[in-house]
C-alpha cells in the first residue's frame, strides 16, 4: 500500500465512543489513509496530538473526536478532490453535522473564522504547514486556535463540499470563551490593537459569536456622500423629507463624530430642503451639485471629488440609523488594510432583512442572501457575524478615498444598477476583501428609492466580470454563502 495521504488522530475519550469512531474509519474501506489513536487520558490533548502528528506519515493531518463518526466515503471524497485539483492546498475542510444540525459550510471566508470556528471538523492541515506553526496548543479551543494560526500564514484554504463526519458534541461556552482568547492572541501576534467581545450584548445582537473591534487610535474623517433629490415618503406614520430625516439621525444618533457631509444635489432638489440640511449639519456640509439626467455613478463620483475625508461612506438618502455605533463599527472594520470596502446590515421598514452582503448565484446573477427573511441568527450565524462577500450594496458602502480614486470610482456607463457591484469587483480585483458587518444596522426604505429595472446593457456590462460572478469565492457548490 502507498504511504497514507490522510492521517486522522483519534482524540482520547470514552472507549465505547472511540470504538464508534474507529468503526466509522474502518467502514471507509481501503485507501491512502490511517487512523492513529492519541494516547492519554481525556482532557487537554494538545501535546499528545502534536506528538502523534510528528509520528504520522500522512500529507494531511486532521482530528477525529471520540464519538465522531466519519460519513461513508468521506475520505475517498477528499482524496478524489485532491486528485482532481492537481495540487495540495495548505488546508482542507469538509462539511459536518452534529447536535447543531447539518452544516453545509461556505468556501473560505476569513472574517467568519474570527467569529466562530466554522472550519470545525474535518479540518485537514498539510503536515509541513502544521509543523511550521508548531502543532496544537493547550486550551478548550485548541482546534480553533490552530485554524487561526495556520490561516495567518496562508489563505490557501479550500472547502471540500461533502459531509465529512457526524460530530458527537457541539462546541460549548467554554470553547467560545477560549476562542475569544485565541482571537485576542491572533491580534496580539499581528501587533494590531483590538478588542474581542462576545456577541449578544446589544439590541438585535445574537449571542454565541465573537466580534473584533480594531482600535482606531486617530479616527479618520469620514466623508458621507449622500446623493439626493429631496424626496419624501411616509416614515413611522409621518410624511418626511428623507434626507433631512437621515441627517437628523446622523447628528442625533450616531456616536462617531468625525464626519463631514457631502450632499450631492441634482437640478430638481428643492432649495428649501438644502437649506434645512445646512441647518441640521451646519459647517459639516459641503454641497456638490450635479447636472443632467440622474446618474447614480456620476453623483457618487462628484461627491467623492468634493470629499476631504480618508474614508468615503456612500449613503442613500432613504436610510435611517438604528443604533449609534454603526459608523464606529464600519470604520473599525475598514482599519484592516486588506479590506477595500465595508457594507452594513440593512433592514426593510418592517424589520425584515434587505441586505447582509451580495453574492452571486450559479448563473452569475447578483443576489441578496437572506432578503425578506426575519432578522435572526440565520444559518450558523450567517446573518449576525462579519462575513466576506464579493460585493455589498452601494446604499451604504464605506471605502478608502484613495482606493476609490485608484480603481476609477463608479463606472458612469452604469448609471442606475450594478454600479456598486462593478465597483466592488474592481476592488476585489486589486486583491482586497469586501466585508459586510451586521453590527452596523440601518433601516433602508428601499422601495422609495426607485424601481429597480435592470436594463439589458447593464446585464451586458456585468458580463465583463463573468469569470468572477460565475464563481463566487465564498458561495459553496450548493449555492450557500
Amino acid at each position: 500500500m502507498s504511504e497514507p495521504l490522510l492521517t486522522l488522530l483519534l482524540l482520547p475519550g470514552d472507549e465505547a465512543a472511540r470504538a464508534a469512531a474507529t468503526d466509522s474509519f474502518g467502514a471507509q474501506g481501503d485507501g491512502p489513509w490511517e487512523l492513529l489513536r492519541v494516547p492519554g487520558p481525556a482532557g487537554d490533548p494538545a501535546a499528545a496530538l502534536t506528538a502523534a502528528a510528528r509520528g504520522s506519515t500522512g500529507r494531511y493531518v486532521g482530528v477525529l473526536g471520540a464519538g465522531d463518526r466519519l460519513e461513508p466515503g468521506a475520505l475517498a471524497s477528499v482524496v478524489a478532490f485532491l486528485e482532481q485539483l492537481g495540487r495540495e492546498p495548505a488546508v482542507l475542510y469538509t462539511d459536518e453535522s452534529g447536535p447543531a444540525g447539518i452544516f453545509s459550510k461556505p468556501r473560505w471566508v476569513p472574517a467568519y473564522l474570527e467569529a466562530t470556528n466554522y472550519l470545525g471538523r474535518l479540518l485537514l492541515v498539510r503536515r509541513d504547514v502544521l509543523a511550521d506553526v508548531g502543532g496544537w496548543r493547550p486550551g478548550a479551543a485548541t482546534e480553533w486556535d490552530l485554524a487561526l494560526r495556520v490561516t495567518e500564514r496562508t489563505d490557501d484554504v479550500v472547502h471540500v463540499p461533502v459531509p465529512g463526519l457526524i460530530r458527537a458534541d457541539a462546541d460549548d461556552d467554554a470553547v467560545l470563551a477560549a476562542g475569544r482568547r485565541a482571537v485576542e492572541e491572533r491580534y496580539a501576534r499581528l501587533d494590531v490593537p483590538a478588542t474581542v467581545e462576545l456577541t449578544g450584548s446589544a439590541d438585535g445582537d445574537s449571542p454565541g459569536y465573537l466580534r473584533v473591534w480594531r482600535e482606531v487610535p486617530s479616527p479618520p474623517l469620514v466623508s458621507i456622500v449622500v446623493p439626493t433629490i429631496g424626496g419624501r415618503r411616509t416614515v413611522d406614520g409621518q410624511e418626511r423629507v428623507l434626507v433631512t430625516h437621515l441627517l437628523r439621525a446622523l447628528v442625533e444618533r450616531t456616536s462617531y463624530t468625525h464626519w463631514e457631509l457631502v450632499l450631492v444635489t441634482s437640478e430638481g432638489t428643492d432649495p428649501d430642503v438644502v437649506a434645512e440640511c445646512r441647518e441640521i449639519v451646519g459647517d459639516r456640509l459641503t454641497l456638490a451639485p450635479v447636472a443632467g439626467t440622474f446618474n447614480f455613478s456620476r453623483s457618487v463620483n462628484t461627491g467623492a471629488a468634493a470629499a476631504r475625508g480618508d474614508l468615503l461612506l456612500l449613503l442613500n438618502d432613504d436610510v435611517d440609523v438604528l443604533e449609534p455605533r454603526w459608523l464606529d463599527r464600519m470604520v473599525a472594520v475598514a482599519q484592516d488594510p486588506d479590506v477595500g470596502a465595508v457594507g452594513a446590515k440593512l433592514l426593510f421598514e418592517d424589520g425584515r432583512i434587505q441586505h447582509v452582503g451580495v453574492s452571486f448565484d450559479r448563473d452569475g446573477e447578483a443576489t441578496h442572501p437572506h432578503i425578506f427573511e426575519a432578522e435572526d441568527a440565520g444559518y450558523f450565524g450567517s446573518k449576525v457575524v462579519d462575513r466576506d462577500h464579493d460585493a455589498v450594496t452601494g446604499a451604504c458602502l464605506l471605502t478608502p478615498r484613495a482606493l476609490f480614486a485608484e480603481v476609477g470610482g463608479f463606472t458612469e456607463a452604469l448609471p442606475l444598477n450594478y454600479n456598486d457591484v462593478d465597483y466592488c469587483l474592481k476592488v476585489r480585483a486589486t486583491g482586497r476583501r469586501i466585508v459586510c458587518t451586521p453590527f452596523a444596522r440601518l433601516r433602508h426604505f428601499e422601495s422609495s428609492s426607485r424601481t429597480a429595472r435592470i436594463e439589458d446593457e447593464e446585464r451586458a456590462a456585468l458580463l465583463w466580470w463573468r469569470h468572477r460572478t460565475m464563481a463566487d469565492p465564498y458561495t459553496n457548490v450548493r449555492g450557500l454563502a
Binding site: G73, A76, S77, F81, V160, A306, E406, V407, G408, W464
Partner: protein
C-alpha cells in the same frame, strides 16, 4: 497647474478603464482556477454520492436476503400448518375417532343428567 479636482476628474475614467482592462488579462487564469476547483468539488461530491449509492445497494441486498429468509420461514410454517390441518381432518373423519366419539357421548350422558338435577335444586 490643474487643480486637484481637475486631476481627479481627468484620471478617474482612465483608471476605471485600466481597472477593467487589468481584469481582462487575469480573466482566463481566474476562470481556469475556478473551473479546476469546481471540477474538484464536483468530483468529491460524486465520489461520496457513489459511495452512498453503493451503501444503499448493500443495504438493499441485505434487506433482500433478510426478506427471502423471512419468506422461507413463513413458507415452511404455512406448509406445516396445511399438513397439520390435513392430518386433523383425517383423524376427525376416521371411523376409529367417530366410534370413540359415540362411546364418549354415552359415558358422558349420566354426568350431564346429574349436572342438570343439581342446577334444578
Amino acid at each position: 497647474m490643474p487643480s486637484d479636482d481637475a486631476v481627479f476628474w481627468r484620471e478617474l475614467p482612465a483608471r476605471d478603464r485600466e481597472a477593467h482592462a487589468d481584469e481582462a488579462a487575469r480573466a482566463l487564469l481566474l476562470e481556469n482556477d475556478q473551473l479546476r476547483l469546481h471540477a474538484a468539488e464536483l468530483s468529491s461530491a460524486l465520489v461520496q454520492a457513489r459511495e452512498a449509492l453503493t451503501l444503499s445497494h448493500r443495504l438493499l441486498e441485505d434487506q433482500s436476503v433478510a426478506l427471502a429468509e423471512r419468506d422461507s420461514v413463513v413458507g415452511d410454517a404455512e406448509r406445516r400448518a396445511v399438513e397439520a390441518q390435513q392430518m386433523l381432518d383425517a383423524v376427525l373423519s376416521s371411523r376409529r375417532w367417530q366410534a370413540g366419539e359415540v362411546v364418549s357421548r354415552a359415558v358422558r350422558a349420566p354426568r350431564v343428567v346429574l349436572a342438570r338435577l343439581r342446577r334444578a335444586q
